[in-house]
Amino acid sequence: MNVSDFKFRLMVCCALAAMLAVLAIPSSLAAQTNQTELVQRIKELEQQLAALSAAAAAAEPAAVAQPAPAVAQAAGQRGGNAPAGQAAPAAGQRGAPAAPPAQNPPMQMPMPAPNTGPLNPENTPPDSTNPQDLLDRIKTLEQRIRDLETGTVLSDPETRVRKVEVYVDPDGTIHDQPTPGAKKETTYQRERVYRRQTINEKIEEALADAEEHNVKVGVDAGIVAQYAHRTQGDPTPGDGHAYELVSADLFFTAGIAQHTLFFADIVGLSGPNPEGELQVLTLVNGYSARLVSQNDISLREAWLRTELFGQKLGLTAGRLDLTNYFDHNMAANDETTQFLSDALVNNPALGLSTNGSGLALVYDPKNGFTFKVGLQQSKTEAKSLSESMFTLGEIGYLARIPGLSEGNYRVWYRTDNGDPGTGYRIAYGTSIDQKLRPGLTLFARYGASQAEVKRDHFYSGGLQFDNGLGIFPGDAWGVGYGQNDFQVGGKERLIEGYYRFNLTEKLNLSFHVQHFWELLEGGGKLGYLIPGVRLQASF
């Protein structure tokens, strides 16, 4: 080898060395970057694991609280956050020392990570720079998090029963897809899913399920106190007298089949009612319509309701009050929360005086039209269904007149054989409630019923204010007027105003003022001013 050749070789070697050095710089930089990321990732995972462990420990205090500190003691601070059920065996598997359970466990909180413990079971020093060590730790931590997330659930995996459609061939083999010769059948099958639910969710679910399958009981109680002051006419027995009627309705509702409901309403009434003394043509207190006899409990309604044809047709049968289905009105149809005067609760022309056996069909395609047909006996002492049978039909329409809000318009027609010897009599009427603006509803009724001579006529109307147009948001108030023009027995005019305080969701207090003018058949006149208070609770 000559000198020049040696020099050449030396230069080549130097160049190669320089090349290797240049190549080594970036790779060492990359390695450092990777190590930083790995360490960062480990820290993130440790934090995540600690948080999960703490959450699991908080969720299962009885099972977790005691052993966890033991792990903490044995494995150092880092182990304090791991749930015992998970951490102890894992620590055992990984060689971590076991420790006896400690007493009076402290609150489980995330703590700084030392060298060993459930969060670092492989005992890798935190300052290890060996990439493989770091990768192993990441892998272990990821696995532990996965295990913790999967195993330490706050509830069992969700199990539910599903309806499935399968195809069964003549041999009884089940196919998921249509198969020649196989018949489509519906069956039920359990499935389990990974839905983690909190204890609260499970409890709520169980309560809702129990409620759904139980008989629901409701109460609607009312106390109405009134005072009558004669304003016109000759002295009458009721002048200056006070009255109080107490009513309690007990409802039972139970879902007994698909879209089928049983309902019963038992009512008890007690106390003197104004109609006993005052010479009025319609009831001063609508509650009195329920009164069969004082201090007795009576079955007011008991019926079964089912829904047919895609739930468009509702069929109700049993002991009914057909006024619950016909002659509805949004503003004047409920003596427990709206007007007290019976003439502002239902149309007297309907003629239904007592509840009885009956049937109601309601067809509601949910397009704004409703069609109703019903029949009901309205005589307590009837000996057969041929007596005092009322038949009703009604068409309802939800309209929206330009410039106004929605309104309900109903017309009805009825026949009855309530009066023996007079054959069937007819009546017809209408009931309207039209929202003029939000919170302001105009209502009106008209009815005509066949009388012994010509027809009796009835008119009523008024306004209801609600939806924030009172003192408190849930309050409502209204004014109404009613007029009964009977062909026989006199005529009647009445006005009523009320204000209802919505004290709570279950409690209402309302103040009423009524005035009745009675035009007696002989030409005399009577007037009564009747202030009153109603306390109503439903729950």
Partner: protein, 414 residues
């Protein structure tokens, strides 16, 4: 010799270039699992499963813990992204730029970022407790993940795909709405009666806007107001973005907020227990689903008052608008109630089944079809808005909880 020197210089230059290249390569963003990367050999690029992200319906499957992607034309599931056991994803949304799909895993306390074309899980980011509803800033930069159980919002930077901040001080944040310019975000707090205003530049809670007063009679009814608070469930923007409509369940009101002044200009009383407010696409009306009295209140947005209150069904979960109609989902009844938005009258109801649970739906951008998740039979029901005919797509995943289409005007969640 000269030749040798030139070779050495050339070799050194090449080595330097290679070294720099290697350094640059090492500085590229790390993938999801570093351990997996270290062990797996170099992989071919993931195949494109969704060429056009605007043409898929995203389905959140709560019990199979995945996001399924259904092609709107073929009505077939083209792929799904498994998130992990017990993740229980709640809501899914695609970023406005169509690049990513994100969801919050309610029981995993994590946010999941999916590539919208390859459907690969790109990143999993720890959040606060119980992530549910979420929103994107209009420029797709920020992904706000609401954590109702943690009373916070996790701010995720979609450029670095990392969580940069947790905004605390909220009370069960149930809904997040960005302004059109992306400068502010409004948060409906279900655990309170105020709307939070967030400065998106600093990601800080700027202001609390009270929607309504708790009535004075609350003292007599402590159970109602102290037992469980059901406050503001949404602050939905008007179509022009000028106003926000915030529905408060307990107070049964909708507060109208001027987004320029951040003041309540009107409070509209609606039915009991309103569950959110949904904007008709023409900007004339909005609907609240009042689960307390099973009605809907149709609000005239010009007058800011209730134009009609109509009967509806139980357990309403959402309202979609298409073909001039409103479709109100009644979860437990199995019906979708239909309303004519011209006459503001009921227009029938569509029966989707018995003993089924309807969840939420999205409407396609052309306002022709609804894609409704039905969790009992694991289906998505497609409703033709004009004819009201239905078509069922079975086996989309376990317990489909909600659907989402990019650019749909009806993207919402429970």
């Amino acid at each position: 010799m000269f030749k040798a020197k030139r070779i050495i210089k050339t070799s050194g230059f090449i080595a330097a270039v290679l070294g720099m290249g290697a350094t640059l390569m090492s500085l590229l963003p790390a993938p999801t699992s570093l351990a997996a990367q270290a062990q797996a050999p170099a992989q071919a690029p993931a195949p494109i499963k969704v060429p056009d992200p605007t043409k898929v319906v995203m389905i959140v499957n709560r019990d199979s813990n995945d996001i399924a992607f259904m092609d709107v034309n073929t009505k077939k599931v083209v792929g799904s992204t498994f998130l992990g056991n017990n993740v229980n994803p709640h809501m899914v949304m695609m970023s406005p730029d169509g690049r990513y799909v994100v969801t919050g895993g309610t029981r995993a306390n994590k946010a999941y970022i999916i590539d919208s074309r390859t459907l690969q899980l790109v990143k999993v980011i720890p959040t606060d407790l119980g992530p549910e509803h979420l929103s994107f800033s209009p420029d797709s930069r920020w992904y706000y993940q609401g954590n109702p159980d943690g009373d916070s919002i996790s701010v995720i930077d979609m450029q670095s795909l990392s969580k940069i901040k947790t905004i605390s001080g909220l009370a069960e944040p149930l809904n997040i709405t960005f302004t059109a310019d992306g400068s502010k975000a409004y948060v409906g707090n279900y655990g309170a009666h105020w709307v939070g205003v967030i400065d998106v530049r600093r990601h800080e809670l700027l202001k609390k806007i009270q929607i309504g007063n708790v009535p004075g009679v609350a003292k007599l009814d402590p159970e109602r107001y102290l037992g469980e608070i059901k406050g503001i469930n949404i602050a939905a923007p008007s179509v022009d973005g000028r106003y926000l409509y915030a529905a408060d369940s307990d107070l049964a009101v909708v507060g109208v907020i001027d987004t320029q002044t951040d003041k309540v200009i009107k409070t509209i009383r609606v039915g009991k227990d309103p569950w959110r407010i949904y904007m008709n696409h023409d900007g004339k009306y909005a609907i609240t689903a009042n689960n307390g009295d099973e009605t809907i209140s149709i609000i005239d947005l010009k007058k800011n008052e209730v134009a009609a209150t109509l009967e509806a069904g139980p357990d309403m979960t959402g309202v979609n608008f298409a073909a001039g109609k409103a479709f109100v989902i009644s979860s437990t009844s199995g019906f979708v109630y239909v309303y004519n938005m011209s006459s503001l009258r009921p227009a029938g109801r569509i029966r989707l089944g018995t003993n089924v649970n309807l969840e939420t739906a999205t409407t396609d951008p052309s306002d022709q079809k609804l894609y409704l998740a039905e969790s009992t039979t694991n289906e998505v029901v497609i409703i033709d808005a004009r004819t009201e005919q239905i078509e069922r797509v079975a086996n989309v995943g376990l317990f489909p909880w909600g659907t989402h289409i990019m650019d749909s005007k009806d993207n919402y969640c429970h």
